[in-house]
């Protein structure tokens, strides 16, 4: 197992390094005019623009820029935003934004898992009856209707009916409810759909029929055997949600005015904020790799039959 973990860590580091260097170099291929907002491009002459870029170190050789970035990184300095939040330290930005997004991400993940599994169980328990049909309708609605429509409906109308705030306020707990629900709608549907499918599959296995022949009630078979086996394939996705927790949702953060990380990467790329893009890409790459890695470990943990290395 130790050998497996070490080898995975090494491979993960290589993956992260490749992703990071590729993104870093690609950013340097972008046109220099992209560093300036339109107002500045029109207002400022070429020479002044070049002066600005040179003073920011953006005209240096890309490898020199990479070396400088890595040096700073190992000293714990993530640098400063260039264009999206000019001169604001990136560490300050992340410190401000990640906790907000992570709080919502975590709350919605828990909500999604709990309600998704509950709905999945309901659908299995009442298969082909009202519970199953209601669940299917919910899943279809969430997956088939463009999310903006129901998200907007929830924000404007549901907030009005329940006297909930329209947007997020840090110091008003009631304002957390709707964004959390909105963020978890998709994952509720996801977990319910797959749990139902895995449980229905499991129900048709011989060991289930054998258990019932032995006299166990359907409820007991579902609880003691079917559920445990069906939930295993789902556990692999839980750690990958780690990235989702940090990266946030552009639409929901925009709708509810949540000052999180949703859309931060998009804004940084559009404004050619190299420093910010580099840091975010590095962070997301690490989280993705860690997420996948943890998923593998978790599966092995919950299902002892799964071996990660040969000979174990």
């Amino acid at each position: 197992m130790r050998k497996y973990i070490l080898s995975r860590i090494l491979r993960s580091l290589i993956t992260v390094a490749i992703v990071f260097v590729a993104v870093f170099m690609l950013l340097r291929l972008m046109p220099l005019s992209g560093y300036f907002p339109q107002e500045i491009l029109k207002e400022t002459d070429e020479a002044t623009r070049m002066t600005y870029l040179r003073n920011q170190g953006l005209l240096d050789h890309p490898l020199l820029q990479l070396w400088r970035f890595l040096q700073r990184l190992f000293q714990g300095d993530l640098g400063r935003s260039l264009t999206v939040y000019p001169k604001v330290p990136i560490s300050t930005l992340l410190k401000e934004k990640i906790p907000v997004t992570a709080a919502f991400g975590f709350a919605s993940m828990v909500t999604g898992i709990v309600l998704g599994i509950a709905l999945g169980l309901l659908m299995v328990r009442y298969k082909d009856k009202w519970g199953d049909r209601a669940g299917t309708v919910y899943i279809l609605l969430v997956r088939a209707i463009p999310s903006l429509i129901y998200l907007f409906f929830i924000q404007v109308w549901v907030s009005k009916w329940f006297h909930l705030p329209l947007v997020f306020y840090k110091n008003r707990p009631s304002s957390w409810i709707l964004p959390t629900i909105c963020l978890s709608l998709g994952s509720i549907a996801y977990y319910a759909l797959w749990l139902r499918r895995f449980m229905v599959d499991e129900e048709n296995r011989d060991y289930v029929k054998f258990a019932q022949v032995k006299g166990l009630s359907k409820k007991e078979v579902l609880r003691r055997h079917v559920f445990k086996n069906a939930v295993i394939p789902l556990t692999v996705y839980i750690p990958t949600d780690l990235l989702f927790i940090i990266s946030g949702s552009l639409i929901i953060e925009t709708l509810y005015a949540i000052p999180g990380t949703g859309g931060l990467l998009t804004s940084a790329i559009k404004a050619q904020d190299n420093n910010l893009v580099q840091v975010i890409v590095l962070m997301y790459a690490v989280l993705s790799v860690v997420g996948v890695f943890l998923g593998d470990l978790l599966v092995a943990f919950v299902d002892p039959r799964i071996k990660l290395t040969e000979g174990e």
Partner: protein
Amino acid sequence: MKRLPALLLAMVMVFSLAACQSQKPPASNTPGNDPNKPVSEQSADDILSTKEYLKTYKTSFSSSYASFNYFSTAYATVRSIVANCIDGLVEPDIYGVYIPSLAEKWEHNEDQTVWTFYIRKGVNWVDHTGADTGLSVTAQDFVDGIRYIGDPLNGAYSLRVVRNLIEGLYDYYWDLDDIDCGDKTDMTREQALARFNDMVGVKALDEYTVQYTLTSSAPYFLSLIESSMLLLPVEYDYAVAQGEDFAVDNEHMLYCGGYYISHFERDKAITLSKNPLYWDLEHITVDTVEYQMIPEGTTSLEMFKRGEVDSVSVEAEEYLTLQGTEWANGLIPTERSLSTNYLWLDFAGANPEFNTFVQNENFRKALQYSLDRVAIASLRDPVNPQRILRGTINAEDCIYDSNGMDYTDYPVLKAIKETDYNNPKLARQYMETAVSELCDEEGNIKGISATQVDYLPVGTFSVDAKLPVTVIYVGTDDENEIVMAQLMKSMVEEAIGKDLIDFQIVCFSGWTYGTVADPLNYDIYFDSLSTGYADPSGLLTRMTTDGAENVGCYTVPEYDELVDRAMEADTFEKRLAYFAEAEAYLCNGAYVIPFISSLRGYYMTNCMPFTSPLTLYGNSKFKGTLVMDRPLTLAEYNTLDAAYELARAEALKAD
């Protein structure tokens, strides 16, 4: 297992029952419920005298306040905060007439090249808690503002106008830059910095007198002080000590305006609190201004209805949906915009068909006369689109000569204002003339051959070097712009004829100035320009053949010469007359096609109008703002507007 589904079901039922309840807007937030007598019978004085005003103003912003560094941040949003937190030398009153601010009085020499300002004594800088720092605002702070922006390492933006206008600043800046590049080795950076006081035309004559020496006559200098953040004061030692952290948030800057930023939560909320040491405290009518970020327009409207913000802008579609509701009589038309929307034509692009035709004035005029501007304006204001029309580059009602005559009323520009450009017949005639000059009898465009046009990353396009002329309009994927582009396409093709023109629209999601406009990856695109201060030079000198604003790369020596003459004119009236001729030359030749102003839709507000400074060139100030506990009605607005316009005319006459 049965309990869980039952619980879920119960929750759904409770949810559904509760959802059947409804809520009406509070009576106090309903327009028109307050007046003691019908609005039609009220005078402006009645309306003003019957109100009690709130001490907090709640407003919203839609895009991020990236930084508060007023020297090195281009974003317009920053100006709206800074205008309230850092006072300039002068400010406009409610009629737009300049009155003392940090300068108690001022004077200038005869040719208006030397301006002397006498600074108010006893004004101190405060920090983000409103506490007195003990540092006084002096003449040196204004000198240091220029010193700060004059150093390239401080990365000041939008330098062009100020750097060219203040004597010696241009050379000082480029000397430092040459030293930084290693191109200048005969002096050290420290020596170059030390030359500031001798070299640059801004001096502290004594502790409370600052004098600006300008490179040319600038009768508009007061309006430049209003519009440019680069002429604001700075506590230099403090700013230098902060280094790159200067004004990145509310805690790293000092304040000398009516408000300080007491709370700042990036991308979420900003609170401005009344500066207890402010020199003009009696006119600070609102104690606290609460900003919150609402990126989505419809949410803002809903929040206004629920009383959570005190003002909201209303776009055309929302305006229509509000008709017939209790909010309809609170919809106020937006007043003015100095920004003009225009079509840029690409004179140096890679499309040989368009490139051949755009050099021909008849073709450009065909485009100009094919647009039904009223129809386009209706997309923004379906009720009164006429108020949005604009055919000139500079806005009306903002530049006046010493006789009080509006610059756009100079005869050559007045003629443009009065021209009806919606003339499909004339457009077709112009196009036929252009075709006869540029094509052979079989419709082949002379001198070019079929090719693939490379406008990447926008796209590649095949052109066959035959009629109809292929025109590539490159716009953004903004919903409103797409509708406008489609409307233009139908107008142009209908007026000129599909046999002669093929107007193609590309909605490019990656639209930026750097991907489309700057590298000339378009034939036509839509943009806007703003009159920056009370002089046409702000726009027109940037639109010369080698000007920064000549995005389409046209060459018009006649225009350049008129601009040069204007700049050299010995009186302001002559200057305006030459500029008017130059502007008319560009518009009449359809080198650019201005068609509407940037005025957008309507707004609803709880604020009494016309009580705060009329900031034509800068950003609105909260000084004097009166916040009611209910929305202003249109009838009230109209009554107040009529009285205000009369008073303003008097004030401008007296100025």
